[in-house]
Symmetry: C2
């Protein structure tokens, strides 16, 4: 309920668009049949995500209105932990919204947020939406992109450019989830704080150990495990 109010306020403040509220509702439903908890498969994905981020040459955290409204502060902390840069990338793009998001993140200490206004001068091919616009210093040259609350088209296009995509998406059936290198099927409000903790801990590991974690992770298998968790949850309700 608290997070619902956060989003409703963020819509009033022009950070979140109405479509973002609908998307949040979809997430809520999937979270519900996940038991509103971090399942073991999400735990595993979070470790793999940390390994990808910590071994990246140029990791970028892509944010939209919903992400910033829900976990703006934590995104800034995650960026300084890895370290990674933050880029604003909106489906419903207006420079006014970009500035508002930039200012909102600045409150938590974010400096040099990428992708704002004319800074998004590069283009990702094969996307028709304004999400195609990216920062040459950011997503355009990134090797690993963390994309919480993503749309499927962009996830596919970025994968097509050979980038590793880490998604946070409560729908394990979505195109984003199935396209990503690592999908954390968890609520962003649990997943991002958790990713910070895990990343801090895994910084102590050697490059070799991190590479092993990456190599061992199988996203399709992990998604299948998550879906089975949802099936178990639903079955518990199918009693007449």
């Amino acid at each position: 309920m608290y997070f619902r109010d956060l989003l409703v306020n963020a819509e009033v403040n022009g950070i979140v668009v109405p479509q973002g509220l609908i998307a949040h509702g979809r997430g809520e439903a999937f979270d519900y049949i996940l038991g509103e908890k971090t399942v073991p498969a999400a735990e595993k994905a979070t470790r793999a995500a940390a390994a990808f981020l910590l071994t990246a040459q140029h990791p970028i955290i892509s944010v939209n209105g919903n992400t910033v409204a829900l976990v703006g502060k934590e995104i800034v902390r995650l960026a300084s932990t890895i370290p990674a840069q933050i880029e604003v990338n909106l489906f419903h793009r207006t420079s006014r919204r970009e500035r508002r998001i930039e200012n909102y993140l600045a409150r938590f200490g974010a400096r040099n947020v990428l992708g704002v206004g004319s800074a998004a001068s590069a283009r990702v091919p094969d996307i028709s939406s304004p999400r195609a616009k990216v920062d040459p210093e950011g997503i355009a040259r990134a090797d690993v992109v963390l994309v919480p609350l993503e749309d499927g088209d962009r996830a596919e296009a970025l994968r097509g450019l050979g980038k590793q995509i880490i998604a946070i998406d409560l729908n394990p059936l979505s195109r984003t989830s199935r396209t990503a290198s690592v999908t954390i099927v968890d609520n962003v409000v649990r997943a991002v704080p958790h990713l910070i903790t895990i990343s801090k801990r895994m910084k102590k590991l050697s490059n070799n150990e991190l590479e092993q974690i990456k190599a061992k992770f199988n996203n399709q298998r992990n998604l299948a495990t998550t879906i089975k968790e949802m099936v178990q949850y639903l079955k518990g309700w199918a009693v007449d």
Copy 2:
């Protein structure tokens, strides 16, 4: 996508509240794992719903912003088919929104919409939200209430008053779904037109036949069947 735009516009026009958009998103997710179709259990529930409505002494169709935005026209048609009266009942109640909904329904020929402004002078006990306010000519004296897109508190309170509740809710696990006498687990944009067709057809049945349909219907069993449909759908995706 078309219905998503309808709702976003309805929010701009003050018919739908931001919380309604989030609720719609939850519905979308459940519809997704239902395969976005009317399952046999929903078909069965629709027949039972029609039987309850057609045998009612004083049937009322309760509407909120989302219902009106998505199927306003169809609600008016259903009301004249049964016949039943329409009552506005909002969780986020303002007289401005009530009037807008009344005017919107009037476009489709609705006259004498109940529950608007001071007309909602009766109270349903045990509800703290503004939804407690009901029309003495409507929900207060109804024996059967159709509540598309309901909240659980009110469904329970109305059941407590001995009324038969027919819910249209995509979440078969919700309190509304489990409290109602009949729950149609289907998208309201499919369910309401379907209910009109079925009601027209069932008008030819005798009272005895309608009573038999009511008596044979078991809502808990029907919900369990629906959940099993969702389980089957999800299982089809759990492949590594």
